[in-house]
Amino acid sequence: TIGAVAVDTHGHVAAATSTGGITAKRWGRIGDSPLIGAGTYADDRAAAVSATGSGEYFIRAVAAHELAARMRLGGETLQQALDGVLADLEGIGGKGGLIAVAPDGEAAWGFTTPAMYRGMASADDRCVAIYAED
């Protein structure tokens, strides 16, 4: 699974996710990536979010929308909301990662697996990494 979230100079956010699913997938299984609110969500009132991981749990937790709702309704910061959703997912047995940006230019990521291919860029900085310890 791959994903991108961005905030532009007008303060608008957007999210995109794309995937081949899981190896040896059968019975027409569809994961969270194409489900709006589960693996992909964007709302200028809160954040843009893209997810990767054990899709069934991200669907059940409505993970991407939940992160935006924690900010919009619960007043959490972007990182607090992202970390809270990952903890919620772990509580029901899920693992994976989230990336997110907010209309104010804030950005966040987090993951509960040993690795997540990830990168971040702005006018001032850039980084790419794979493992938790990178």
């Binding site: 791959i2 991108a4 532009d8 957007a14 996710t17 194409p34 709006i36 964007a42 990830r118």
Partner: protein, 169 residues
């Protein structure tokens, strides 16, 4: 004016060197940088967040290192089935597709749906037909299939129910 920013992921994995290729990690990091380049160029020029995320996602869909587009994992039948979604925070318009087999750029089809409808979510071979009618490039399913993914499929089928579904990210 807001400070622009782009963040990308290439999948959450559970194995160091799950791929049998020691150059995989260096190639993956190069792919991540290429995707950041594509999105950052648009944002730095005052372009939209939607254009930036589609451009970055397209780079990663074409990059064989990642489980999306070309280089995706295989179903138990040995074919590639692709899903994608895109969403615009300005008005919460969205487009999503699932179970594609011949549309080369899944995220571009999702964007076409987001911008012109008539629906938010399309699935299956009918979605590929919709893409073809919309002039979005169609390819044979084997365009997406790599030998390394065949090896991983055989490994997963041999592991049966013990296979880790997100081992390869």
């Amino acid at each position: 004016m807001t400070k622009w920013r782009i963040v990308i992921h290439g999948g959450a994995g559970s194995e160091r060197i799950a791929h049998h290729d020691p150059t995989h990690e260096a190639r993956a990091l190069a792919g991540l940088n290429a995707a950041l380049d594509a999105g950052a160029a648009i944002l730095a020029d005052g372009g939209s967040a939607v254009d930036a995320v589609e451009a970055a996602a397209r780079v990663l869909e074409e990059d064989p290192c990642f489980n999306a587009g070309r280089g995706s994992v295989l179903t138990e039948d040995g074919v590639v089935e692709l899903d994608a979604a895109i969403m615009d925070g300005r008005d919460r318009r969205a487009g999503a597709v699932a179970g594609l087999r011949t549309t080369r750029a899944p995220v571009t089809l999702a964007r076409r749906l987001m911008e012109q409808g008539p629906h938010v979510f399309l699935a299956g071979v009918a979605a590929d037909r919709f893409a073809a009618k919309a002039g979005i490039e169609q390819v044979g399913n084997d365009f997406f299939v790599l030998p390394e993914r065949r090896r991983q499929l055989e490994e997963a089928l041999a592991a049966g129910n013990d296979a880790d579904p997100i081992k390869y990210g």
